[in-house]
Symmetry: C2
Amino acid sequence: MMGRLRLAHLLLAAASMSLLGAEAAYIRYNTSAGVVKGKLNVHMVAHTHDDVGWLKTVDQYYVGSNNSIQDACVQNVLDSMVPALLKDKNRKFIYVEQAFFQRWWREQSDIIKDTVKGLVSSGQLEFTNGGMCMHDEAAVHYIDMIDQTTLGHRFIKEEFAQIPRIGWQIDPFGHSAVQAYLLGAQVGFDALYFSRIDYQDRGKRKGTKELEVVWRGSKTFGSSADIFSGIFPNNYEPPTGEFYFEVDADSPIVQDDPLLFDYNVEDRVNAFVAAALAQANITRTNHIMFTMGTDFKYQYAESWFRQMDKLIHYVNKDGRVNALYSTPSIYTDAKFAASETWPLKTNDFFPYADKPNSYWTGYFTSRPAFKQYVRMMSGYYLAARQLEVFKGRSNSGPTTDSLADALALVQHHDAVTGTEQQHVANDYAKRLSIGYKKAEELVSTSLACLSESHSKSHCKSPTTNFGQCPLLNITYCPPSEVNFSQGKSLVVVVYNSLGWKREDVLRIPVMSDSIVVHDSERKEIESQLLPIASASLNIRDKHVKAYLGTSPSAQPKFWLAFSASVPPLGFNTYIVSSGKRSASVSSTSTIYSQGGKNGKLQVGQGRLKLHYDTAGALSRYSDSKTQVQASFQQKYKYYIGHDGSGSDYQTSGAYVFRPIGTVPIKTDGQVPLTILRGPILDEVHQQINSWIYQITRVYKAKDYVETEFIIGPIPVDDGNGKELSTEIVTNMATNGIFYTDSSGRDFIKRVRDYRSDWKIEVHQPIAGNYYPVNLGIYVEDGSKELSVLVDRSIGGSSIKDGQIELMLHRRLLYDDGRGVAEALNETVCFDNQCEGLVIEGKYYLKIDPQGEGARWRRTFGQEIYSPFLLAFSEQDGGNWVNSHVPSFSAMEPTYSLPDNVALLTLQELEDGSVLLRLAHLYEAGEHKDLSALASVDLKRVFHDKKIGKITETNLSANQERAAMEKKRLKWKVEGPPSEENVVRGRSVDPSNLVVELGPMEIRTFVIRFDHR
Amino acid sequence: MMGRLRLAHLLLAAASMSLLGAEAAYIRYNTSAGVVKGKLNVHMVAHTHDDVGWLKTVDQYYVGSNNSIQDACVQNVLDSMVPALLKDKNRKFIYVEQAFFQRWWREQSDIIKDTVKGLVSSGQLEFTNGGMCMHDEAAVHYIDMIDQTTLGHRFIKEEFAQIPRIGWQIDPFGHSAVQAYLLGAQVGFDALYFSRIDYQDRGKRKGTKELEVVWRGSKTFGSSADIFSGIFPNNYEPPTGEFYFEVDADSPIVQDDPLLFDYNVEDRVNAFVAAALAQANITRTNHIMFTMGTDFKYQYAESWFRQMDKLIHYVNKDGRVNALYSTPSIYTDAKFAASETWPLKTNDFFPYADKPNSYWTGYFTSRPAFKQYVRMMSGYYLAARQLEVFKGRSNSGPTTDSLADALALVQHHDAVTGTEQQHVANDYAKRLSIGYKKAEELVSTSLACLSESHSKSHCKSPTTNFGQCPLLNITYCPPSEVNFSQGKSLVVVVYNSLGWKREDVLRIPVMSDSIVVHDSERKEIESQLLPIASASLNIRDKHVKAYLGTSPSAQPKFWLAFSASVPPLGFNTYIVSSGKRSASVSSTSTIYSQGGKNGKLQVGQGRLKLHYDTAGALSRYSDSKTQVQASFQQKYKYYIGHDGSGSDYQTSGAYVFRPIGTVPIKTDGQVPLTILRGPILDEVHQQINSWIYQITRVYKAKDYVETEFIIGPIPVDDGNGKELSTEIVTNMATNGIFYTDSSGRDFIKRVRDYRSDWKIEVHQPIAGNYYPVNLGIYVEDGSKELSVLVDRSIGGSSIKDGQIELMLHRRLLYDDGRGVAEALNETVCFDNQCEGLVIEGKYYLKIDPQGEGARWRRTFGQEIYSPFLLAFSEQDGGNWVNSHVPSFSAMEPTYSLPDNVALLTLQELEDGSVLLRLAHLYEAGEHKDLSALASVDLKRVFHDKKIGKITETNLSANQERAAMEKKRLKWKVEGPPSEENVVRGRSVDPSNLVVELGPMEIRTFVIRFDHR
């Protein structure tokens, strides 16, 4: 080991030595400049932007295969970076995407590892951003953001003892408030840099020198979560296109050898100085940043550094400006040291448009099936980690690591966004599937351990086999699709990953109508059988074949629905057996609006009723408990995607939403309603048109409406791409205002055709008002709130007062010119025949009295994110309950988290310690009761364990929180100081182990348990 | 210095150390394979082919500018090669073009230099070929080949103490016998590798496993100059297109990380083995070479080595074949060790065709003006170096070094060939011009020194100013274009760089017809004034403006011709003054064939007469001394260059000659003859058509015909590109046979529509019979020989019996698809108006009795190569001869080299020693007397110096000849041993210092003189 370390030092020593041994024609470039006071300092930041999948898959990008699609090989970047940095100790480089870096690191020899560690510790190589990917900010849920950042940050901490200081979101297509205050300030970043903001906004900011701001992303936290944010003047490339030094680039290089022709030093220095002065002209302080790199560059790092060496040398010799090798952290420190007062920025940077007709709001919905898969896996990963903790992490057995990696990857801004090529989307899905398979194995094993024994110590080889049904959403569940007549029963273990007790209706497909359900105390419970719609069976048959290669032998006939009640962080067991029609078969009636006699129709067995008018259309919503009533319509329409004809050739595509016309899908009076009624829920089935099927559900015991949609294939044989939206229309007077969540966390007020930062010129009244929706969207009129929650990331808006719309599916025929070079035209192939993608999904709707909507949005939002996890086994005879633990909670039996606190993370780390993340779910003032300080009693959460050591960390768990707070930079902001009354929990007293959480607070702990 | 050497060692040590410290995912590639007996050995030769100018200039290629034309940067190649080789001591790389390497070397720090020296001495980096460029073999004169190779080889020797072992002419477009035996065997190369041979030849050789041969390029030297020669199966790229690992290449890389997707090791190994077996199938012995590289590749060397490491590792693990890092020298040694018997190859590999209609015989003539400029500079460089020796080389003053570099560069196979882009041709010309300017200054100074003093010791600052007239060929000579009326005279110093005394007519433009010429003994000598043709003045006016930016003020009226007699390696002085019509003004008569009365016309004042028929056309040649008579016609015609229409889209272009039709230029009876007669010469002027002017000269004292042509602009407004040839038609029965020189040295027998190595299928009866002509072309009929000698490299043939044709000029409208991407359409611009290039040149013709032609071809060939060097000064009054040395010879006054020996090189090296090259001018049996052993008495050559030490070296002066001979590999050849009687001079006895030279022998010496 010693020899290896010596090498790195010697290489550095050698590099400096060479400066002395200069010969006649060898030029010793003076690259040692630091910041110089009183001069314009040009911070040259050498960087590469490496998408972890886009036109090629992440592995193809890494190894450099499939180069006919794109010449890109990240291995080249990292390999060539090492000697380039060794060559001159002043050279600096930042590296961002840890998914790539970790691939590379794993393959390196110890000597290279030691060398690189030297480069990192000397500051020549700096990890920036530091997550596994540069996550998107619109289509990504904040829990995924946290997880993928933590994964990267902890690796960097463990391997290099480094803490990334800077957020570097240079490519995502718009920027979220949660990124700024949560993934920025609360991660401990000193600054956040990015480039893509609305072109009108950028134009204005250039004029007012407001490209660099203090961003206050959280209303709740105010200035305590401020972050300095730098928006690049144009993009993240070198300025003016003249300083682009990739191995095959066309930029004029600096030719400084007087013995060769075309000596051009003066010329290049002048160009550099001109570019610097132009940028200085729109920038406060005498520090500007040149972003020296772009996508997949530095494949041969020396080709850049060679030119930058020369530029620094000759520019500084010239003396008009001072050029230096820098990093975003050096730049940030210089900005801070300048003691400038900065403009304040609140809210976020959505939506993003780079041209008048080019709103990047299509990608909020692009690849909706993939977006749903990501969300499903995200929730599953949260649950699986809990079960991994309960079982005990095994380095030999299955783990959640592979799912963690896959999930981290798909948060990339060309992954869940839907802006990657089709083969790359397939690759992401494959990775999720592989990761899921491993996690599924772990989950089954853990549940088997937990159900076989009271002991929660490590369980090696349980004998119980659990199956799970990842294809349940397409009505496929082999364990339940069996004949129970042979005296065998189906055991359903229902796991609840929420910190609260939970009662919910679950549904599984079954073969017969003779079904009886018992609970874990052998008590028969109510159940309902619902005939499975042919639309569902159609999806099932095709996709099971497509996914598994074989068709299932028989079709299930019914959905069996029953209500399960499960303790927090625990499971309960239900037994499904054959019985004498014990389960109610739903009553079925079909209503043809024209000829129907039931003039007015009412659906719902409980407090909530949906009323349909004579034409068979939804007309009213009423809740007998809250007394809320609202007139109410729900419709579908599609936008025709622009085909690029005309003067502005912008098309609608994977990124851009550019509708050319709106086509309502007429349902009034055309579509028969099929109504299924039963003791648990009512369902209204509607075949809206040949490619839209809808089931509206009202649960007896629930106070919201669930709408399931099956959409596709979107027809395109008329030559038009289509973007399908559903809309809920009420007569609420919403005054142009609606609210959408920021990355699934805070809600931000949106005003139609308005931007708070500048006076918007409206060119796209629809696309320009779309916003990302991860959790939900709501409107209010002073007396009530209409909330819609979603099961995946989606684009939504309120295009008219009282209206909410969600774009559910898109199928387009043209590439939209932002690089992906494919039309977003997803198809699925069965037996060599391909047809447009069919999606299945749900949204949830509730109308609350004004001021009460938040509770549902928050609580039920958590339930959507974390649905029951079902595991199935078989009981032969009646012995399950005797031989197994039928019910379990990890927490103290009577304990539950407070209503306003969610458990975001419970995860065993590699070293056996446990990562715990608790989140307050409400913003300050969001709810009259629930926006209060909350407390969690860890002794009761971990009632059977002894907490030996608890350390509170920053959000990404790579540093102690106190240390982070201590070094936080306090930036001066223009304008009067705001009045703030920020409530935060106190630091945890190890003796009582109570965690307090103020509104919106997320607290992260690393806990070491004592072995009992 | 110590530290630097240690670094290189440590880097190597580190590289091997890393092999031990392997971790789980780090793969230690075993690349240590050497040759394995009993297996098929795949020698992977990592190489880059770097044209020293082609689509970009040499400097642009070096620094990587102008990348929009071609992504190429040689600095990247060499920079990245160093860490790549340090990474694994088994990796090997060859580097070829020293013009690039020297540019790079000059810029390196000492530490890099030391590191590279380590890599060279360990054999990881091997210099191959080692000349400044990879010279062409068709359009290049052997003296230029020697000079450019020597320049590269001596640098390598001095800097690295290395001797390149291998000729590596992988890209030139056909291969000359002189390359094989002289620049190959006599340089000391152990083998010669190349790829471009006729496609039919290649096809046959593949079938008979005759791609690797022993090439016996010299009839005179026989087996003593054999060289093992390997022709690549296809090109010089990696096999099958699948193993091409440039940083941006599309070849499938080896993906061997099982944790990533697309693992493909088996697949890649299979592909490699299949490629190896396919090549083995056409190759003798179990050694094959994979040429791993191509044009300008290895810009990031690691991208190749990374994949080759893996291939070697996994292929050898597989075990079917043995893959190894190799070099051409390792490969050659393995071939030699196999003790195989090889097929014999004689003659050369011209012409080259890569497809049936694609004969690369156009480039023999492409850019004829540039080819002439190169030849002029070549002769001038030879003379200038002599004068540099006489004066003493000065490191501060002007030297010939810059001209040496420029001349070396233009021997490149995309330089003098004319196959570079126009801007690159301009760059070459600029370099020659700059080099010339420096050499001109040196020459003037040296002549001033020599003429001012008898002492030949170092002369610091002579006072005499000499001007020279590099634009004399376009009738521009400022020193002579003055009015001598003011009592001032023009001093003309005439330098003869030949080793023989020489009498020749020189011509200078003068303003008046009152001119008298005196010799250095103040004796008036005969002179003749010839009115300058308006065609000449036209060229002059336009081009002086184009070249110098200003027009000359007045036009000269006459050429003044007089005969100068100059001692060997010396000068004589002539004084031109105004006088009373002492010079004869030529009598002028214009003959109109139709109406002319002189039915038969005879030109020539001496033994040689040209006879014109009644139509004014040349009809007969007669020499009264030899009694040779021949009927004789001389005509012009042009070929229409193919435009690529039709099924084979091959066009005529810079490389390819593909005529689509022949158009005779009718002169008979149309063109008036203007005849100038005088005491020294007769001239016949003919305006052949609007763009061809011709002057035929017969000198009273000479026995050959000189034809000057002014051709252009070739009209292309009819949409046809044209390739102009002149033809000499006799009634000699030549039976399809003609002779052309090999790179200006040996003459090779050509047989029309025939190849000795295979039965040719004739698709192109004209283009396929063209051969390069550097010295001359001749035919014979048993009683006489018709020889034509040329003033530059040119294409020529004998398309019909008794006929010789030379292609003089080409102007084409289409690119011919071989990469240059420009049509060969040379223009010259005056005042922003461009017109087709006009060329001026000469060819020389003689008809000798059978067996006597060689003497003229050899002796006069030397005179063409080394014309008188003229320097001009002004004499005010009559004091020049008093104050100056009027005549000088470096040799002993009565000594002269034998008629069959030429002085190729006399050059002072940087260390003060002198490089001497003497060449026997005749092949064995070429001439009944002159093909005998010749002797040169060095004591008389260097009569005023004392030779302290004389060392005979190989041709490129980088090793002692004896050592080279000793290590020469003797290859076994198929067939019966040939009877050989090779005459070579004995080694030089230091006591008598006589150099013996057998036929064709070139002997090279490094001489150290004792200071007296």
